[in-house]
Subunit: 363 residues, 2 copies
C-alpha cells in the first residue's frame, strides 16, 4: 500500500493508495465522529462501487445516507449543491456528520464545497474513482462549482480528512476517462519532474493497459508531486499556480465548447501543447521539447490541437474566455509556461503572440 | 477614535470605531490591492450612506462598482449571492478585487460569504451601518446565507481585512432596528461581563436616545468582548458558542414566524429570557437574575415573551425547529445557559423541562 502525507499543520492528512481498501480500518484512526456518514456519488459510479463502500461504512457508522446525483460536469452547479444541503437538513445532519465523495472530479469538487459550507464546515473524505481524481482533483483541498460565466468560479480551499485512492476502481473506468486522467499525470513532468516524464514515455502503453503496478506508480508519484506543491502554497498565492499548466487554454476550450463536450483532461491536453508552444515562442524551451511533449500526449490518445471556438475570430474568442480565468489579474492573462524541461513559470504574454499560438494550434 | 484588535495570527485585523470615518485613510494601511472595489449594499442603506462611501473609495480605487440588493432577511439567499457572482464576473473582477459590505447583518453575512467563495476567496471589508452589525455580526468572520430549512445553514468562517464602525450611520437607524441591535449588546453582560450589564442598566435610556458617547462605549465594549471570545475560538469548537446565548430559541422564533417577521434581535431578546428561565430551572441562576435580565430587555423596548408558533403543540414546534440548529449534536439540542451572572455554559436539557419553559415564556 502506498502512503503520501500532505503536510499542512493542523489540516494535515494522508493519501492512501491501494487495491480494494477496507475503509473501516482507516476510519478508526482518522479521528472523526462515527455517528452519521453521508456518501455523495453519481448514478454511474453508484452502480459500480457504492455497495462495497457502503459495506465498509456501515461497519463503522451508526447511520449511513446516500445522495445520488446525475453524472457529468453539467451537474457541478448550485442546483446539485442545494440538493445535497436539502438532504442533509432533512436527515437532521449536524456539524459532526462526515461526508464521503465517491466518484470523479465533479463529485469530489462538489462534495468538498458542500462540506466546506454546510453549517460552515463539516469533515469530509475523498474516495476518488477516476484516474483524474486520484492523481489531481481529490488532493489539495480545492473545491468548487461552476457558474454559467466560468468554471470553478465559486468555491473554497477546504482540505479533506483523508483521501483513499482505491486502484481497483480504475478497472471499470472507460478508456476515454483514463486518457483524460493521463493528461493531468503528463502535466507533472514538464512542470516539476522530467524524470517522471521519461518514465511515462517508457510506460504509457502499460498505463493505458491498466497494468496495476504502472497505475500504482502513476498515482503515487503524481500525489507526491502535488503534495509537495500544495504543502508549500495551500491557497495558490504563488507556486501552486504551476499545477494549472495547460489549464488556461484548457478552461477556455471547455467553456467555449460548453461544459462536458470536451472532458477536462482533453482540454488540458490540447492546452499543454498550446502553453508549450507559447513557451517556445517566448524563447523558454526549444522546439524539440514541444515535439516531445506533443508526442507523449498523442500516444496517450489525447488531442494535441484545440478546437475552433469561433470561425470568425477564433483567437479573439479564446482570449475573451481566458480573461475571466481565476489566474487573470487586472484583465491580464497569466500563463503557466515551461522555463526549460521540468520547471514552470507563471507570467503574462503579448496578445499578438498568444493569437499566433492559437492560430497555429487549433484546427 | 476607538480601536479593537482581533488577534488571529495571519488573519488578524482591526475594528475602527469613529464618526464620519474617511475610509481612504485606513485603506492606505490595509495592504489590499487598490485596483477594483465592489460595494454590496441594499436599496435603503444606499440612499442614506452610499454616496459618502463612494466619495471615499473613489479616491483610493481605480474602479468602483456597486451591487444594490433589496432590503431584508428574506433576501439572504442563494439568489442574492448569485446576483453578486454574476455581477463580479461580468465586470471581470479577479482575485485581488476588494469587496465592501455596506449595510447591516444581512449585507455583511451575504457579502462575506460571497467574498469567501468567489474564486475561492477575495479580500473584504465590513462597513456595518446598524447597531447589530457593529456590535456583533460584522466582527468574527461568520458568514452565511439562509436555506429554506434553516437560518445561516450555508456559510463559511472567513475573516474581513478591516471593520469600520462609523457611528454616524446610526443617526438614521430606525428605532426598531436600534432596539434589535441592543439585544446583542445586552447579551454580552450575562455571558461574560456583569459590569457591562450594570453599566447598561444605568445607560440604556441614553443609548436609545442615541447619545454619541453612550453609543461609542456600547460598540467598543461589545467588540472587545467579541474579539476576546473569537480570538480564543475562531471556528466555534467550544467557547465561541456562548455568543449564541438566546439564539437557539431565537432562531426557532425567526424560522417559525417566517424570516423577517421578527427581527433577529427581537428573537434573541425573547430567547434570552427563555434561556435564562431554563438556567434557573436547572438551578444555575436565581429568579432575581432572570427578573433583572427580563427588566433590562423590557426597558430596551424588546419582547420578553416568545410568540406562539403552533397553537396545537407550541413547545413541540419550538423543539422541532431547534433540533436543526447548528449547535445540535446527534439530534440533541445544545443550549447556552447562564451559570451564575457573567458566566455561560453550553449543555443539553431534558425535553420536558424545555417544554415547561416554552409554555411559561410564550404568549
Amino acid at each position: 500500500m502506498g502512503l503520501v502525507k500532505i503536510d499542512l499543520g493542523d489540516r494535515a492528512y494522508d493519501i492512501l493508495i491501494a487495491e480494494r481498501v477496507d475503509l473501516a480500518r482507516f476510519l478508526a484512526n482518522s479521528n472523526v465522529c462515527t455517528r452519521v456518514a453521508v456518501v455523495v456519488t453519481n448514478v454511474v459510479v453508484a452502480k459500480l462501487h457504492l455497495s462495497r463502500a457502503l459495506d465498509s461504512l456501515r461497519s463503522s457508522f451508526q447511520e449511513v445516507y446516500v445522495v445520488e446525483l446525475p453524472d457529468g460536469e453539467a451537474h457541478k452547479t448550485w442546483n446539485s449543491l442545494n440538493q445535497i444541503f436539502t438532504a442533509l437538513l432533512k436527515w437532521e445532519c449536524d456539524r459532526k456528520t462526515v461526508m464521503f465523495a465517491l466518484g470523479g472530479g465533479v463529485i469530489g469538487d462538489l462534495t468538498g464545497f458542500a462540506a466546506a459550507t454546510f453549517m460552515r464546515g463539516v469533515p469530509f473524505v475523498q474516495l476518488p474513482t477516476t484516474l483524474l481524481a486520484q492523481v489531481d482533483s481529490s488532493v489539495g483541498g480545492k473545491t468548487a462549482i461552476n457558474h454559467p460565466l466560468g468554471k470553478n468560479m465559486i468555491g473554497a480551499f477546504y482540505q479533506p480528512r483523508l483521501v483513499v485512492c482505491d486502484l481497483s476502481t480504475l478497472e471499470t473506468l472507460p478508456v476515454r476517462e483514463l486518457r483524460a486522467g493521463l493528461a493531468e499525470v503528463i502535466k507533472y513532468g514538464p512542470i516539476a519532474d522530467i524524470g517522471f516524464m521519461e518514465w511515462l514515455e517508457g510506460s504509457v502503453d502499460k498505463v493505458l493497459a491498466k497494468d496495476s503496478s504502472a497505475l500504482a506508480h502513476v498515482v503515487q508519484r503524481s500525489c507526491e508531486i502535488k503534495a509537495w506543491v500544495v504543502s508549500h502554497d495551500e491557497k495558490e498565492t504563488g507556486l501552486r499556480a504551476i499545477l494549472n499548466f495547460g489549464h488556461t487554454f484548457g478552461h477556455a476550450i471547455e467553456a467555449g465548447m460548453g461544459y462536458g463536450v470536451w472532458l477536462h483532461g482533453e482540454g488540458v491536453a490540447a492546452g499543454m501543447v498550446m502553453a508549450a508552444e507559447l513557451s517556445r515562442r517566448l524563447g523558454l524551451v526549444d522546439a524539440a521539447f514541444v515535439e516531445r511533449l506533443t508526442a507523449l500526449i498523442a500516444r496517450a490518445g489525447l488531442p494535441t490541437k484545440g478546437p475552433v471556438l469561433d470561425p470568425a475570430d477564433n483567437a479573439g474568442r479564446y482570449l475573451e474566455l481566458m480573461r475571466i480565468d481565476k489566474k487573470s489579474e487586472g484583465g491580464e492573462i497569466r500563463f503557466v509556461l515551461i522555463d526549460g524541461p521540468g520547471k514552470a513559470v507563471v507570467r503574462a504574454a503579448p496578445d499578438a503572440l498568444v493569437r499566433e499560438v492559437i492560430d497555429a494550434c487549433c484546427d
